[in-house]
């Protein structure tokens, strides 16, 4: 997993509430058995004028010029500024995969859906919940080429005007993201504790361990 330390990057605004994971990556792309390559289909129904299918060559497709990510001034954006309840709906991890594959590293919104929020950290994406009023301000102060700096270690965002905003992130998740650590290896450090738990539980519920 790619580590996340500090990032200074262009911001793209997506001014809609309740953006669900079906919108982030429509279901026809879930048929892939791979982890990579979802970026070209990110927000597929909004981004293109035709209907997307897996394995399409997106370079040939008619794009929707009104959709924000198709506007030239947001090309290369790595920070997505969004509205409340971002990532609601289906638990598909393809949503953070698609956002990451497209090039996003962080998402700022007033709130995120639980499962999506969790899935981001597992894929090197940093979701940052900020108060609604602050997100409103950020939407208000955007201009072409607007960049933000995100400093994960110090939990700070520095705006284009030099204002500092602090944000919340769970210590454990922060540590893993800063170091790009794999969850499974960390949990397997407790293998003995897992075995002990199983032995104790088997006394109370033997049918669970009958094999």
């Amino acid at each position: 997993m790619r580590a996340f330390t500090t990032l200074t990057a262009l911001v793209a605004p997506l001014d809609r509430a309740n953006v669900d994971t079906d919108a982030i990556i429509p279901k026809q792309f879930l048929k892939s058995i791979r982890r990579a390559g979802f970026g070209p289909y990110l927000f597929d129904e909004w981004r293109y004028l035709d209907r997307g299918e897996p394995d399409m060559d997106c370079v040939q497709r008619p794009v929707n010029p009104d959709f924000v990510l198709n506007k030239p001034q947001y090309k290369g954006a790595e920070i997505l500024l969004a509205r409340e309840n971002f990532g609601c709906g289906s638990s598909r991890e393809h949503a953070p995969w698609a956002l990451e594959d497209f090039g996003f590293r962080a998402i700022i919104a007033p709130s995120f859906a639980d499962i999506f929020y969790n899935n981001c950290f597992k894929n090197g994406l940093l979701p940052i919940p900020l108060a609604s009023a602050i997100v409103d301000d950020l939407f208000g102060e955007l201009f072409d080429g607007y960049c933000l700096t995100i400093d994960l270690a110090n939990q700070k965002i520095i705006t284009a005007k030099g204002k500092e905003l602090s944000f919340e992130v769970d210590e454990n998740r922060k540590y893993r993201l800063l170091n790009g650590l794999d969850d499974i290896a960390l949990s397997l450090q407790y293998a003995d504790k897992i075995r002990y738990y199983e032995t104790e539980r088997a006394k109370r519920a033997p049918w669970l361990f009958a094999d």
Binding site: A23, Q28, K31, S32, R35, S91, Y190, I194, L208
Partner: protein, 471 residues
């Protein structure tokens, strides 16, 4: 000290280890797998040279992509076929039990888990699918996970979690005739909103919940996720225990008695304290119909499509306007004037035997309205299908003009050939009415099985509580 909630008890029973920051390693008793969210997890396991921690705790089934007709011909779509074959291959390689497409027990993962007794009271149950909340109906802690977590559970039989808060939704009194579990849960979501349960585990309680069968309880917990909660729970009672007795994977002999004793304590203590409590008058709930592109955009069948102009919140007003436009509806239009093109009875919300019976009561001796292009009944599992056929329900549906299909997710998410065409309107018993969910440009109205069957017969929505008996 105050008592414990059901969620507190289930949580404590499964903690392997807790970090200083409160994140815990939680033991997982049952892991369900399907073809869509598992391939990348197996790929990760293989790449890291890891093995499943405990094979027997995993159970796999192909459901999302399977065809609901002419199964003997296999899967025509190459991408769907590849996913299903990949699941078969991975399960064979890692020694994981799988109900393959031709197995009589195959069905939607959230239908077969309880049906087989593979998910039981007191368990932690996870699956790479958000509607895993369904299994909470048996007093299990059940929630959906992402593909990285699927890999984590395969490798460690554990998950790293933080405890959620406790939300109690209390349904007081009894529902009226014609009002089902689906109407209860839609009414709850209409009240608390799709983000109302964010950060909580919801316990559904009260007289109206106690009166539900296990099937009805599963319908309610199934949609806890649409209310923003990862898990929904219902306390164990005699209904629960009777349901599980004799199921293939349920404990047997002396283990059964031991289990029964253990399960009896799976309820919130009288003095348990919840972080939030919502009271709902069950008697006031009427049959529900969603009109928008989020499950919270729902009204009673005798109401009209709401007017965005009366919504004070600007963001909400905008999404209402967008929803009306997408759905091709006008504010003020009577719900019963909405004409539908297709009807779908199925999905992990409403494809169990009781759901099919409720729809059959309405369809019996009637014919589909002329404007209905297609009405599908898709049983939740091979065993539900068999049971329904033994009761003659298939005949009732076929005589009325419905199609009777093989089990699977089908038009709930349109990953197989069953889908809506652009602009088509559907009365659906599934759980999501998002844009494009049932096919690109398709318009979904979520309803109960009886309401869906009634719409198929009338050609538009009707209030089943007015047409009477036994819905």
């Amino acid at each position: 000290m105050s008592g414990k909630t059901l969620y507190d008890k289930l949580w404590e029973d499964h903690v392997v280890y807790t970090e200083d920051d409160g994140s815990s390693l939680i033991y997982i008793d049952r892991h369900l797998l399907h073809e869509v969210t598992s391939p990348q997890a197996f790929e990760g396991l293989r790449l890291a040279g890891r093995k499943p921690w405990r094979q027997s705790r995993n159970l796999a089934v192909a459901d999302h992509n399977v065809p609901t007709t002419e199964r003997e011909k296999g899967i025509i779509d190459p991408v769907s076929r590849l996913q299903v074959e990949t699941l078969d291959k991975n399960c064979a390689e890692y020694g994981i039990t799988e109900f393959t497409m031709t197995d009589a027990r195959q069905g939607i993962v959230h239908v077969i888990g309880p049906e087989q007794g593979a998910t039981l009271p007191g368990m932690t149950v996870v699956c790479g699918d958000s509607h895993t909340s369904t299994h909470g109906a048996s007093g299990a802690l059940a929630f959906g996970i992402g593909t990285s977590e699927v890999e984590h559970v395969l490798a460690t039989q554990c998950l790293v979690q933080k405890k959620a808060k406790n939300l109690l939704i209390q349904l007081n009194g009894q529902t009226r005739i014609g009002v089902t579990a689906k109407d209860i849960v839609l009414a709850i979501i209409g009240k608390i909103g799709t983000a109302g349960g964010n950060g909580y585990t919801i316990e559904f309680a009260g007289a109206a919940i106690r009166s539900l069968s296990m099937e009805g309880r599963m319908t309610v917990c199934n949609m806890a996720i649409e209310a923003g909660a990862r898990a929904g729970l219902i306390a164990v009672d005699d209904v629960t225990i009777d349901y599980y007795r004799g199921r293939p994977y349920a404990p047997k002999g002396s283990d059964w008695f031991m289990a029964e004793r253990l399960w009896q304590r799976l309820h919130s203590d009288d003095d348990a304290v919840f972080d939030k409590v919502v009271q709902i008058d069950a008697a006031a709930i009427k049959p529900q119909v969603t009109w928008g592109t989020s499950p919270e955009l729902v009204v009673a069948v005798d109401e009209t499509v709401p007017d965005p102009a009366s919504e004070a919140d600007a963001v909400k007003r905008q999404s209402m306007i967008r929803a009306l436009e997408y759905m091709g509806l006008n504010a003020g239009q009577a719900i019963t004037d909405i004409v539908v093109d297709k009807v779908f009875i199925g999905s992990c919300t409403n494809s169990r035997i009781e759901d099919l019976r409720a729809a059959a009561v309405v369809a019996k001796g009637k014919k589909l309205a002329d404007n209905i292009k297609l009405a599908l009944v898709v049983p939740g599992s091979g065993l539900v299908k068999k049971q329904a056929e033994s009761e003659g329900l298939d005949k009732i549906f076929l005589d009325a003009g419905f199609e009777w299909r093989e089990p699977g997710c089908s038009m709930c998410l349109a990953m197989n050939a069953d889908r809506l065409d652009e602009g088509e309107r559907c009365a659906s018993t599934s759980n999501r009415n998002f844009e494009g969910r049932q096919g690109y440009g398709g318009r979904t109205h979520l309803v109960s099985p009886a309401m869906a069957a009634a719409a198929a017969i009338a050609g538009h929505f009707v209030d089943v509580s007015l047409i009477g008996e036994g819905c």
